[in-house]
């Protein structure tokens, strides 16, 4: 399972980083979201793989680490706020600049199609 989790996080990171390096705002926000999944999973997994445990006192047999969960819970909400903020920033940038390229301009020599 450890290998599988590592592969999942690796794929999410790769896909996130690749999209983050694109030139247009929308793919970048998709990349940011994928990267958020990867990071949240990573922090969550720092509590190790504990199937069938619990974080509620008196329920179930054995407890899993609640601290990474608390960290990730707020991280999920904050990353939503961040995604929303960047998305609206991108909308505003498009309105102001007339295009959705992160550099604020489309370089002619880059355009292949």
């Amino acid at each position: 399972m450890e290998v599988l989790v590592a592969v999942v996080i690796a794929v999410l990171t790769s896909c996130g980083v690749y999209l983050l390096l694109r030139g247009r705002t929308f793919p970048i926000i998709l990349g940011l979201t994928l990267l958020t999944y990867a990071v949240n999973l990573f922090i969550f997994m720092s509590g190790r793989l504990n199937p069938g445990k619990s974080t509620i006192i008196g329920v179930g047999e054995g407890y899993t680490d609640p601290l990474p969960q608390a960290l990730v819970l707020t991280a999920i909400v904050i990353s939503f706020a961040m995604t929303a903020f960047v998305m609206v920033l991108a909308l505003r940038a498009r309105a102001e600049l007339g295009n959705d390229h992160v550099d604020g301009r489309i370089k002619v020599e880059d355009v292949k199609s």
Binding site: S14, Y18, F26, L91, D110
Partner: protein
Amino acid sequence: MTLLSIILLPMLGALLPFATERYGRTICAYSAALGPLCALGILMGSAVSVFGGHVEYASFAWLPTMGLNLSLRLDGLGLMFALLIVGIGLLVILYARYYLSERDSLSKLYALLQLFMMAMLGIVLSNNLLLLIVFWEVTSLVSFLLIGYWSSQTDARKGARMALAVTGAGGLCLLAGALLIERIVGSFELGAIFAAADTIKADPSYPVILVLVLLGAFTKSAQFPFQFWLPHAMSAPTPVSAYLHSATMVKAGVFLLARMYPALAGTDGWFYIVTFTGMATLLFGAYNALFKHDLKGLLAYSTISHLGLITMLLGFGTQLAVVAAIFHIINHATFKASLFMAAGIIDHETGTRDMRKINGMWKYMPHTALLAMVAALAMAGVPLLNGFLSKEMFFSEALHIESMGMFSWIFPLMATLAGVFSVAYSVRFIHDVFFNGEPIDLPKYPPHEPPRYMIVPVEVLVALCLLVGILPNFTVAPFLDAATLAVLGENKPDYHIAIWHGFNLPLIMSIVAMIGGLLMYSQRTGLFAFYERKFRHDEKIVFESRVQLSVRIAQLFTDFVQNNSLQRYMSLLIGSAIVVIAYSLYPMTQLQGSIPISTVEPVSLLAAIILIVGALGTVLLHHNRFAALLLMSVVGLIVSLIFVRYSAPDLALTQISVEVVTIVLLMLALYFLPQITPNESGAKRVGRDIALAGAAGIGMGLITFAMLTRPYESISDFFLANSVSGGGGANVVNVILVDFRGFDTFGEITVLAIAAVGIYAMLNGLHLPLPQADGEGRTWDKEPHPPILAVMARILLPLALLVSTYLLLRGHNAPGGGFIAGLVTSVALILQYVASGTGWMQERLKWKYRRVAVSGVFIAALTGMGSWFFGYPFLTSTFSHVHWPVVGDFELASAMGFDIGVYVTVVGATMLILAHLGKLAQTSHSPRPPTSKTYTDTQVTRGES
């Protein structure tokens, strides 16, 4: 305190001239002299005890944690230098009063001079190396300002910049050296450094320290090959040249050599570097001085040469050589300052400094001429003048160096050669200026003697040259003794200064130098022609081209990393992060830790495959934005399943509700953006990005695997043990959020509210081009709100609100809590917006969401502040069990109030973001052509939410 006041008096004095300049230049000069005069008095008062071998200390804490203390010492070396600085400073103040023309601001010059005096005194009185460096830098800065005093002249500006660049770079080297010394010694205090001298010299980093400290000293004292800045510093007013660039500041370098002598000298490295640098400087300066037609240029190169002589003596490392070095510092300061002043008078009276024009001045200004000639003879080393005494000692020491074996003859030979040149340029100074026929078209004609008081400083200095030269034991001996004691400590040699040592080798060397110098000067016509042909180079041009080159290199680098492309920055940032992380992980020898790997279950494998397909699909289809978005939502759902699988119900609930909200948000935003991402990345960029992404992914995967297979210790046992007893809740995750780490959560919801308000601000007044059709050319549906969905959504709303209330209330003891409940409520409300439209919702729900978000933060804050009333810190929680009829016993925790604050903030922030984005679509996208009435509606509703 008295020691501190020596430094502070000139600093306070720096302000006085500004106040007094309006009352006339003489008053201004008097007021400027006030501070230094008091300092001189204090110094004189301490002189007697210092002569007795006593060292005065004073120390005030400044930044003790950094080892920087205002720690001062007054020993013989410091006293000698301090007297030179204050004494010559006073003479320069008097001289400058007459030198400076009415157009120039006298108070500015005085202020800078006294600021410099303060810094220079600070250098020589510091008992702390770091403090010394602080003052050292101040002298470099003031020197920059003084060289550039006539800031309208290009030469002055360029000369100032060059001086600052060279001495500033040296200062940085010195600082690095000092930091290394501190690492060995553990203190910047000079006493501690001297005590640890053997440890420093035995340390492997000693050569580095030595080179760094010497670089600092050599740049400041214009030693070869850093000498080039000094001639260009001559663009400064002559009082500045006399004071800073011959008598004091350039001596700071040799002072540092003398100061650090007990700690660093006595090694081979010191001997070879210092001696040969000094020798090269001595010869280079003496040789060039002969060929300068500029009066001040000649004196500048002569200064370089004499500084080289002092450096060479300090490099010899014998005790008598140190005595000779200190003696020559005093002598050079007196005769060179007087020569600069004389040169300034001549410049002042004739309007030029070109020796080819200035001839026969003896006839026009015999008084000045006489003084200048005596000083020049001292410079040449003629008997009965002070220069002779120290030069004899120099020759004698050069003869005694035997550490080079059979090559030791090089020192007396080179010393004599330099002596020949120095006689030659001194003779040139006398003959060319005061005799040699009649002046040739002077700008001011006829020249005459300067104002009476302008000559007084020269007279004082020349008198000192004579007194020291004739009666050394009654004048300079005690100062020299005390200074030597400070440098050499107990090893102070027995020596006797005398004019006549008998007919010995040094005297023969002197005579050879005299005759050789005269012969050389007699052959000047041929020599000048030879020099003109061979050695015409301008350091300024070289320096400026170097500056230009470094600017160009910097520009190229800047263009590479900062080309105004965020896309480029992102790749550089990610690349750097990969490099930094890879570098720090490199020592990891074993990837897999001690925890055995668990088996893969088929269901998990299937989920992982779906997730990977979703993620890769998002990338592959990212040009089709809508498809990519849908695929990405698959990833989010699988992530929430992973949370379920690994015992995190709270996270799963949060993730799935955030997922819904996020996807709705992105869909809304996509409406305003192009539906297709153009394919504009070249193969090269795609390849680079794949490499970066692959490296990042592989790195993260390896780190994850390494982490998962290693055991760890967590602080969570504390939370598990204290959750019920301390926080009154069984759901540890929730208790951590609202109780243990409540302050973090408070910060978190504040950020959430700020982000929402920021989004509100950005959306305000936003106008976007409206798409008439979707990505595949289909026009938008005119009837966007299907009735079935609307009806269903309305039925669902109360149920959803009930569920969210339940999640909120039970959060403390079971999966749920403010974040999750808030998100569920938001999803239910958003569904109404989607199903029935923004307008429909606005008629029914007249909340301003930004107020909701902010009041959530307030509720949380007030709950936290509540604990103040009971004398507890912010956010201390309490709980108790309450009995209610019918309902029975239940627990009431103050953390619940905080969680309600979280709930309200989350609802407010989420709705603020989505409702406004939705309204943007709703109000902008109008199926009918806009009439004036709908236009007004839009106007009215814009501010509402």
